[in-house]
């Protein structure tokens, strides 16, 4: 991709010069922030490469999906998987468009509701997602998929007893192996972490699909991180990634582990070519910062633009990443703390607690992390990363 020129890219960076020079630069910076459209010099210039499925040629099949549910469901599912593989949020919109006619039908098909819930939770509209799932389960109480999605959403919200209940329901209708992953994943967020880890590590993977083995590996890796067993964690994450190379979630977790060991060179290699996925771009920026890499300015600008546009749309879905960006890339702990608090009000995973604790400490106000510490005490959540920071014992 060519280097960008618009949107403040050429804004001069001046430190500690004379005030008048800086004021001049300010005027120049504001001018540079304005759009600067141009006419390409020749017709062969490539303006964009389109990911599979994102072209106008799909219009006929999208029209067909309006008439046939058996076209709409797999098409929406394809779009959702493309969103995941490419990091392009537009695909979630395409999926939503395909489902919209079926969603407005009364009563909607439970499978439509479950897919709609998946889209909503990807946008961090967790309560709305739960609403869709409740409706789906009222119509079809034996829908394993709906129970599993429900467990996932509740887990992100930190509602562990309910999430455990959803896993138990899931187990009634699903394969025993994957049910164990669901249940032990929740159990690992309580004081039973050690036992959950042992159970899951002993689980036979015979007959499991690659994606299921990757899921197990990523759960084991996360538990090992919280137990402070970094070598084991790396083994699990790498195993999961080998089975599911497109899983950016595992890739991000592995990157975090390497960053915590200051192995930023390996992180650069791990994340090469993955810049279009925002959580991975964040890890790349942190690694570039550790390395003093010149690519940092560009990564930081991309992230800043993404956060600013999300805020402008009124959909700040990446608050966790934004808080880490402010804290670890920009050294702005006060702002990181307010974003981390806003994030904690919405989602409550161990990583959300961790960024809040780190931001509060860096901002000189460790007591502001009390909601997260209180949450950890209540649930018996064990995480050496948090304990090491606060000196607290849970």
């Amino acid at each position: 991709m060519p280097q960008p020129m618009a949107y403040g890219a050429s804004r001069p960076r001046i430190r500690g010069r004379l005030a008048c020079a800086a004021l001049l630069a300010m005027a120049a910076g504001m001018a540079a922030a304005a759009a600067s459209p141009y006419v390409p010099a020749n017709d062969d210039k490539v303006l964009a490469r389109l990911p599979a499925g994102a072209t106008h040629t799909s219009a006929p099949i999208r029209q067909q999906a309006d008439a046939r549910l058996d076209v709409a469901l797999p098409l929406a599912q394809f779009y959702i998987s493309q969103a995941r593989a490419t990091g392009d949020l537009r695909f979630l919109g395409y999926a939503e468009a395909v489902l919209s006619r079926w969603r407005s039908q009364a009563p909607p098909n439970p499978a439509v509701l479950v897919l709609q819930a998946t889209i909503l939770q990807s946008r961090h509209a967790f309560e709305a997602a739960l609403g869709e799932l409740d409706e789906a389960l009222r119509a079809r109480p034996d829908d394993a998929q709906a129970w599993l999605t429900r467990a996932t959403v509740l887990r992100v919200l930190g509602r562990y007893p309910e999430a455990g209940g959803a896993c138990a329901q899931f187990a009634r209708w699903a394969d025993a192996g994957v049910s164990v992953i669901c249940e032990q994943g929740i159990k690992g967020l309580s004081s039973d972490l050690e036992a959950a880890y042992a159970t899951l590590a002993a689980l036979s993977t015979q007959g499991m699909l690659d994606a299921e083995r990757a899921w197990r590996g990523s759960e084991l890796g996360e538990m090992a991180v919280r137990l402070g067993r970094d070598t084991d964690a790396e083994h699990w994450f790498r195993d999961a990634l080998a089975r599911s190379p497109n899983d950016f979630y595992v890739r991000a977790a592995l990157a975090d582990l390497l960053l915590s060991q200051r192995r930023s060179g390996e992180v650069l290699a791990l994340l090469q070519g993955q810049e279009s996925i925002e959580p991975l771009l964040l890890r790349l920026a942190i690694a570039q910062k550790q390395q003093g890499n010149r690519g940092l300015a560009r990564s930081a600008e991309l992230l800043q633009t993404a956060f600013a546009t999300e805020a402008e749309r009124g959909e700040p879905v990446h608050r966790r990443e934004q808080a880490r960006f402010l804290l670890e890339v920009q050294n702005r702990p006060q702002e990181a703390l307010s974003v981390a608090l806003a994030n904690w009000a919405v989602q409550r995973e161990p990583d959300d607690a961790l960024v809040l604790v780190n931001a509060a400490r860096a901002a000189g106000a460790p007591q502001r992390a009390e909601p997260a510490l209180e949450f950890a005490r209540t649930h018996g959540l064990r995480d050496v990363r948090i304990t090491a920071t606060t000196g607290a014992h849970s």
């Binding site: 960008p4 804004r11 960076r13 001046i14 500690g16 800086a22 300010m26 504001m30 459209p37 006419v39 017709d43 062969d44 210039k45 490539v46 303006l47 964009a48 490469r49 389109l50 994102a54 072209t55 106008h56 040629t57 799909s58 999208r62 995941r84 392009d88 949020l89 537009r90 919109g93 395409y94 939503e96 468009a97 939770q121 990807s122 946008r123 961090h124 998929q145 996932t152 959403v153 699903a174 994957v178 994606a211 599911s244 950016f248 979630y249 925002e278 991309l302 633009t305 993404a306 546009t309 999300e310 402008e312 749309r313 990446h318 990443e321 702005r332 006060q334 995973e349 860096a362 000189g364």
Partner: protein, 370 residues
Amino acid sequence: MRGFGIVLALLTLAAATSAQAHVASNGFLSLQVEGARVDGALELAVPDAEIAVGLDADHDGKVTWGEVRAAQGALVSYLRQHLQLSQAQGRCQLQFGALQINQRVDGNYLWQPFTGVCPAALHELTINYSLLDQEDPSHRGLLTLSAQGVAQTAVLGGGRRVQSFDLRHPSVWYAFVEYLQAGIWHIWSGIDHLLFLLSLLLPAVLARRNHRWQAVQQAAPALLNIVKVVTAFTLAHSITLSLAAFDIIRLPSRLTESVIAASIVVAALNNVFPLVTEARWRIAFAFGLLHGFGFAAVLSEMGLPQGARLVSLLAFNLGVEAGQLAVVLAVMPVAYLLRSTRFYQGALMPWGSTGIAGLALVWLIQRASG
């Protein structure tokens, strides 16, 4: 059927724990209103234009400038269907100009300029924005609307397809009031700025002679002292506040906060062991530069609203000055009246200043050690 379910479950899991992303689909609509005329430009990302009208004529997965030029007719008729401007008197007629490309950090956008001619001078404007409503319901139009030198912003599309904007009551006024209040509130709640200023102002009603403080005889020199210190402080923090607000200079907040605490220690101790007696305005200026970064931290937590950045910054600064002036006006007449008393010279000056220095020293240690 079970395989289907489980694979999807995994997608679900990862998507929830950390949403995938780049930026979602956004169009950028900028409009400038002048009388009955609207000058505008719509920016649409290349993938969005592709899904809506089809650009990639040879289906090779690459969109070239030549393909875009060939599709401009289709694009314009799509825009006519999905973007309408109107007022109470009727629709505005849109004329589309030559297409260009704008490179944004997340990729290339088609930049389509247009002019709208409306039936009458515009006092309100209604925008009907339905781009991509069939293809991508999560698409939004980010609007910047300028009229009479005032900009307002809004999010178009989604559930709010038709929106009207009042061009007579600029929302910038609300931004002004909000940021003015924030400025006043900050100087009153941010006691460190006030303690710094008061430390410099306490000796303003005195003069140093033969290593002793004496009351000034007349009001004029005291007033001059006060004006110099307040002006220097104001000027200095306004400069750095502006620089930081526009992201030209950034300092780590721990450093800023620590130096602000240190500045209070210096200013207060200078009253007990005077080094600078005549030109305290220089201290006010030098440290005022750092206090400006402190104000900026508050401002950056609020953020400056798009389209009203300068006005909001000005309002915040005016609020800070107003709050500061109110305190000066309340304290300094009393100081002037008390200036000859033993209480003022023998107790307030040395012990009050020592107390302030001690308090600031505690802050300094807290802030520096984080």
